[in-house]
């Protein structure tokens, strides 16, 4: 089946982002297609490449990046959620004259239209929030 996974929650603040990661990985292992990962609201924090957890803790941001890279997933961070939370890609950092960009390179900043498209084109949508 074609699945879309929507994540509303930040890593570490709740378990929801981790559940979303495990669900996504399991879906891929079972041979399903992940049509889109959509990070919305606090979920955009899953795309912050500067996340640096202690060495002995599970690095969820890195895990997402690796999953996205390995399976060539379409991982969107919603631009309006991301900007106000300080997650910027290089173009937005330049546009707003910020000192640095920090969004992981395997994510794309885009709008809610991508979620609407995902609704229309997926067989199932699964949301994770807290």
């Amino acid at each position: 089946m074609k699945l879309t996974v929507l994540v509303y929650s930040a890593p570490y603040s709740s378990e929801a982002a981790y559940s979303a990661y495990r669900f996504t990985a399991s879906a891929l292992a079972a041979g399903h297609e992940i049509y889109r990962l959509f990070f919305y609201y606090d979920g955009v924090h899953n795309s912050n490449a500067l996340s640096t957890p202690p060495q002995d803790e599970f690095d969820l941001v890195k895990a997402w990046s690796e999953l996205i890279k390995t399976h060539k997933l379409d991982a969107i961070s919603c631009v309006s959620s991301a900007l106000r939370r300080g997650i910027l890609d290089p173009q937005e950092a330049a546009r707003y004259e910020k000192e640095a960009a920090n969004m992981g390179s395997h994510f794309v900043l885009s709008g809610l239209g991508q979620l609407v498209d995902a609704n229309a084109m997926s067989d199932r949508v699964m949301s994770f929030g807290a």
Partner: protein, 93 residues
């Protein structure tokens, strides 16, 4: 054509209570994350008998709690299957 409801919170929020008000007979309910703490209380409610009840086994084990017999423990692979089998999912938090 039924619905999968997921609840990931304890009774500190009314997510489960809201879910149960609008669930339909024959729907599935998966407790995951902190939602698994509500398993024992859930099975005592009359409405629970009209639903298929599940709990995410990894979250149950993590918390050291014992599931009532009428709540089926499932893993992430079975969670994916459930999402595909049900017509739609609603995540309550």
């Amino acid at each position: 054509m039924s619905t999968l409801h997921t609840v990931n919170k304890t009774a500190a929020t009314n997510a489960l209570e809201a879910c149960l008000r609008v669930a339909s007979s024959g729907d599935s309910l998966l407790l995951l994350e902190d939602g698994v703490y509500q398993a024992s209380k859930l099975v005592q409610l009359p409405v629970a008998k009209t639903l298929q009840l599940f709990a995410l086994k990894e979250d149950v084990t993590a918390r050291g709690i014992k599931l009532p017999a009428t709540v089926t423990p499932i893993d992430y692979a079975q969670f994916v299957d459930l999402v595909c089998q049900q017509q739609r999912s609603v995540s309550w938090f």
